[in-house]
Symmetry: C2
Subunit: 368 residues, 2 copies
């Protein structure tokens, strides 16, 4: 392998694939980035066997070939080089020469033949989605995935494609996040994508890009393509929980309240929680007024918010973390809170959109 390419594009390409490189692994080659020079371009691949990211940049290929280099060292070297042409050349002694202006590195590398192949995904059915929408949908659901491995399926987000609609759902036993969006698709697909994968996809999306993201979903793997970058991930196996029957269809109290004001009040009320513990916040809902109280050995807090109430007065308590998580991802100015009783789930949804629904289980108080 012998190539020339600009420092800037190589450094950018490394930053894209590096996130999927294993940091801790018993297989040393997985700490590496695979470089392949072919057809006037350089392909970079990183993988931890769960997620693989591939990025292609233009390069001047003097001799085709492939090699694997330690990701940490290679990225630090390239990042510290000046913004000039870089020469990469595989030497006979299995060292890679990295040359740029007056700097010459020779670093040890691995044989390309030992690097695992990424799964081949047949792109016969590709769905397209705007980056902005997909990033929002990820942000507005992924936080509600389970952090525990006891039920692996809940560490992922359900992606359900039905005709031109994509529904994403995450739940962890205490809350549900549901977000719908329009997609350029046909047919029906139902897969569960690991939260980590969606976070990575979100990271490689670029806010300025007009290009839609392309999604291909197979039984065991998902492929997300954006420009010169391809992210291939394993999908989670198993049946997702039937979320339709969890979401209540009716309510007895419906509160309209300013999103930001509610978030600020709950955040302040949760300050009295001791570190590491999430605080209980109590809602006391009466006509035109929501009072939030909380107390601990450190003191007590009382917050009052103006609301519009439709239906019955109510007292209900929540783990503040679950409410904060939801209110942080809602972009709309106002939300509806819907309640049935102090021991039934609460629903949060934006006032002007019916494409988000959040459910949060209350905390049962001794007297309720």
């Amino acid at each position: 392998m012998h190539i020339l390419c600009p420092q800037k594009s190589l450094s950018h390409s490394i930053s894209i694939v590096q996130k999927s490189v294993s940091l801790k692994t018993t297989l040393p080659i997985l700490k590496g980035i695979y470089l392949e020079a072919q057809d006037q371009s350089l392909k970079l691949i990183g993988t931890d066997l769960e997620i693989g990211i591939e990025n292609l940049i233009e390069a001047d290929i003097i001799q085709e070939g492939a090699v694997v280099v330690d990701a940490r060292l290679f990225s630090e070297i390239i990042r510290k080089l000046p913004d000039e042409q870089i020469e990469l050349k595989l030497q006979d002694n299995q060292q890679l020469l990295i040359k740029c202006t007056n700097t010459e590195f020779n670093i040890l590398c691995y044989s390309a033949a030992d690097f695992p192949d990424l799964p081949v995904i047949e792109e016969d059915e590709v769905h397209h989605l705007s980056q902005e929408l997909f990033r929002d949908m990820i942000r507005q659901t992924v936080f509600a995935t389970s952090q525990e491995d006891s039920r692996p399926i809940l560490t992922g987000v359900l992606m359900e494609i039905d005709e031109d609609s994509l529904t994403m759902v995450a739940l962890d036993g205490y809350r549900v996040a549901l977000r719908k969006g329009k997609i350029d698709a046909t047919g029906h697909h139902k897969v569960v994508v690991p939260a980590k994968t969606l976070n990575e996809v979100s990271r490689i999306m670029n806010a300025d890009e007009e290009t839609p993201i392309s999604i291909t979903l197979r039984d065991n793997h998902g492929l997300f393509t954006l420009g010169n970058t391809r992210l291939i991930s394993r999908l989670l196996e198993g049946e997702f929980i039937n979320y339709h029957q969890i979401l209540p269809k009716e309510y007895k109290s419906k509160v309209k309240v300013k999103t930001r004001g509610l978030l600020n009040s709950i955040e302040r009320a949760s300050l009295l929680a001791k570190e590491g513990k999430y605080n209980l916040v109590k809602f006391s809902i009466t006509d035109e007024k929501l009072v939030i109280t909380s107390n601990s050995e450190l003191g007590k807090v009382y917050e009052e918010l103006a609301i519009q109430l439709e239906g019955a007065d109510l007292e209900i308590a929540f783990n503040s973390k679950y409410l904060i998580d939801v209110l942080k991802v809602v972009d709309e100015d106002e939300v509806y809170l819907e309640f049935t009783s102090a021991i039934s789930p609460g629903i949060i949804k934006p006032v002007n959109h019916d494409n988000h629904v959040y459910l949060v289980l209350p905390v049962r108080l001794p007297n309720s």
Copy 2:
């Protein structure tokens, strides 16, 4: 105590004094901020018994008094309140009421009587210095203080005032940093200020401020005053090392080189060091050329820099960290490197200023 004051100024004041509050202490009251309402102003104090910071803000005093509140909790509450008037009122039950628009907190507090007094410093001899200069002088010396407690005096920076000149010196047995500056002072003072104190002083200085910083040095304490903020610190006891006899007066090789280019080359060369180990970099100095090489089990690197050499060719090796530390704080475009032999200290100084001098011990190579 009962006062009114704006959220913004209270929040800012807390951020100033909070840094001196003890995080880990067996004396719980030291985790607190002392608040004192008197004469139309609110005084905040934080201390860890080594450093005390006092800040004064304007407030509307309804009733004078003092109290101590948990620093972490109080700062988080005030920071999360809206930018409105805040009411603080000590209740009969030794709880502090914090009220702002529709929010009311009641938090437990400590008795003001239990808070330690800051030392009283007589301000009969005050020196003045521009903030910009003092911040530069701190930055350009404090990095060379010792991190080890085996010789406590070396964990501080010598501040020597002689007529209108301030000399600051730090050394740790491997390197020396010396920086001189003009000061509005008279007489002679020689004290050693803990590195931590100078870092705190640097932090409270505000780049936009025109006000000079006032310094009062007593035998055991130093007082640094800036606007409404006073920082009082213990000084280190003992005799500082006589740095005059360490700095060589002559040299056999004098190199003129671009600061940034040299820094970049050494930083790249040090990338081959394994984590946690500082890399050895070898200098090979010949007419008009400085070659820097380094190698480890990961590979090797060769860097070439254009220089102007006056005197003899030389081969010499250094711990790259010590060179990087110096080159990062030198603001001038070019530096002189002065050497006598491969086993004598190297000197680094900016080309156009004789008010900085840095000394770095070389690493003796097997063949030197």
